[in-house]
């Protein structure tokens, strides 16, 4: 599961979990989507459920830990976050020599929630030490570095993701975002257009979700990007989704 449009992914994953509440892959993916959408407490709850349904770690979770509410708010409840974080740290310490990339990934998400991006980056790096060919992990490392204001390193991580999976639209989109933050608006626009072209050709190897949903996000970010470039005259083309004309203007084949 790796949809670019997180709200739709959240709905789909919740439906999946209705049918199969112990689906660990769905729980981890859900935590990631909630994090991307700033639903901090729900992300914590999804991670807690991941632990408690995981045969390797379920003994770590005590019944009193299940009080956490998963309330819909973008304000992180520090006590809930700490509780889940401590449980994941216990899980990671269980086999310190044998890194469980999923536990590291969960910890990485938790440190993203609390804005501790350097620690989060360490976790994803640890996960990559055992799974170096995982494009999604490289993208998560990249996004963490970018959100933690380390854009140059983020670009390197995204390039690793794109090297493994050239059609990985989320990583392509993220490179664009990072270019905006580096004031490289033209490069950003080129990345967004590349992503839109790939998507139009149906080439997203990571199955980033239905095409109209993906393109909504990319088009609206591209619109913001042309505003930032002071090229408002391109906005009508963006609004009409005239990919052909935009490709011509940005010299994209």
């Amino acid at each position: 599961m790796c949809l670019l449009q997180d709200p739709q992914a959240i709905a789909a994953l919740n439906k999946c979990l209705d049918l199969q509440p112990t689906n660990l892959q769905a729980l981890m993916a859900l935590a990631v989507c909630y994090t991307n959408e700033n639903y901090y407490n729900q992300a914590c709850l999804a991670l807690l459920n991941w632990l408690r349904h995981n045969p390797k770690y379920k003994d770590l979770v005590l019944s009193e830990d299940l009080r956490i509410s998963g309330q819909a708010t973008s304000l992180l409840e520090p006590s809930q976050h700490k509780l889940v974080q401590d449980l994941f740290i216990n899980a990671a310490q269980r086999n310190p020599k044998d890194v469980d990339y999923e536990v590291q990934c969960g910890l990485g998400v938790l440190f993203n929630l609390s804005g501790e991006y350097n620690k989060a980056a360490d976790c994803f790096t640890a996960a990559l030490s055992v799974k170096p060919d995982d494009a999604r992990l490289w993208n998560r490392l990249g996004a963490t570095l970018a959100n933690g204001s380390r854009p140059e390193e983020a670009v390197n991580a995204y390039h690793n993701a794109l090297h493994i999976a050239p059609g990985f639209i989320r990583a392509r989109y993220n490179v664009g975002i990072t270019c905006i933050n580096l004031n490289a608006y033209r490069e950003a626009a080129e990345h967004f257009l590349t992503a839109l072209n790939q998507q139009a050709r149906g080439k997203d190897v990571m199955n980033s979700g239905s095409s109209s949903q993906i393109s909504d996000t990319i088009w609206s970010t591209l619109r913001m990007c042309v505003s930032l470039m002071n090229q408002g005259e391109l906005k009508p083309l963006v609004d009409q989704r005239d990919l052909k004309e935009l490709n011509r203007i940005f010299s994209i084949d």
């Binding site: 990631v32 991307n36 639903y39 993203n112 996004a143 963490t144 959100n147 975002i177």
Partner: protein, 337 residues
């Protein structure tokens, strides 16, 4: 041609400085400055405006706090050195901080490697003022008189096409339509706007007096300070935690006069121009961060920039530059895991 729409809430030194910095970053954006009060209505206009961050002043971490303070100092110092400096009410000033109690009070780790001079007072200097002063420092820094700065910054903002709206905002969601991002510089107002219980007023009272012979600032024990500005000298003060009293208190006035005159006796002949009260918006840490709020199925992008306490004039440019970076990050959206 651009349709980037930004609202800045708050008309004090933080809001205005942030608004004019956003204009520099986004030359074609539509920027609205919305506040319930401007200029003399603001807490900034009460402040003496001496660049001296308290040693307890803090942002999210040491590195960022230092950056805010260093950026702010450079900003004020650069502005002072332009032809606009005098119009903006920014100038250099030197003076003393004395304590009869603790050596640490006269030290300041933020200023010591930043300002041109920060040195221990000599034995002779410790006897400059009446009182049994044991410890002292002399330093050179910058003073910004908001009676000049706020009108100057307002003029700059309007000249570059900024728009000003005067009304009270009860709810961020009520103004969110049409803005790509909202920058919240509402000082103490954020307490209600964001339900932020960490934000507390620290009440201050000052007397602005006519004393053009005072060219040096003085700090003594117990919140006593004498700070010369462009058009008056500010005598202070007090720090009353969680007091919401915005009226001038006559006992505070008497105490301020008595303490300041004891420190610099020739102030006895200084005529009072006005007495003012300000509620410093204190928050530890100062909140300069992004938020995405979900409201009726709509996502509102907010960048907060409030809670500077008694150091709003001091640090406004530093946090404004940082807030501008957050605005860009917020507009671009977060990178997706």
């Amino acid at each position: 041609m651009s349709e980037l729409n930004i609202a800045v809430l708050g008309g004090g030194v933080v809001g205005l400085t942030t608004a004019i910095e956003l204009q520099k970053l986004y030359r074609n954006a539509n920027i609205d400055l919305i506040a319930s009060g401007f200029q003399s209505d603001t807490t900034s206009s009460v402040a003496a405006g001496l660049f001296r961050p308290g040693t307890s002043f803090c942002g999210p971490n040491e590195e960022i706090t230092r950056r805010w303070i260093n950026d702010a100092y450079r900003y004020w110092d650069d502005l002072r050195n332009t032809s606009e400096g005098a119009l903006a009410g920014v100038t250099e000033v030197s003076g003393y901080i004395f304590s009869s109690k603790y050596p640490n009070i006269v030290r300041n780790h933020y200023l010591e490697n930043l300002v041109p001079v920060y040195r221990p007072a000599t034995e002779k200097e410790l006897k400059l003022c009446p009182g049994n002063w044991k410890y002292g420092s002399f330093f050179t820094t910058i003073v910004t008189t908001c009676d000049y700065y706020l009108p100057w910054a307002t003029k700059k903002f309007l000249e570059k096409g900024g728009k000003i709206q005067k009304h009270h905002i009860k709810d961020i969601a009520s103004i969110s339509t049409g803005y790509d991002v909202i920058v919240n510089c509402t000082g103490l107002g954020a307490k209600w706007l964001c339900n932020d219980n960490k934000l507390v007023p620290i009440r201050g009272q000052v007397i602005k007096v006519e004393a053009p012979w005072i060219r040096t600032f003085f700090y003594g024990d117990n919140d006593t300070y004498i700070i010369p500005g462009f058009n008056s000298v500010t005598l202070g003060g007090c720090r009353q935690y969680e007091s919401y009293d915005d009226n001038v208190n006559k006992y505070d006035s008497l105490s301020i006069r008595e303490r300041c005159e004891a420190l610099v006796p020739n102030l006895k002949s200084a005529k009072t121009i006005k007495e003012l009260v300000g509620l410093r918006p204190h928050r530890s840490p100062v909140r300069v961060e992004k938020e995405v709020r979900h409201c009726n199925g709509q996502k509102i992008k907010i960048v907060h920039n409030y809670g500077h306490g008694g150091y709003g004039v001091t640090t406004a440019p530093g946090t404004a530059l940082y807030a501008c970076e957050l605005v860009r990050e917020s507009l671009a959206g977060n990178s997706k895991l």
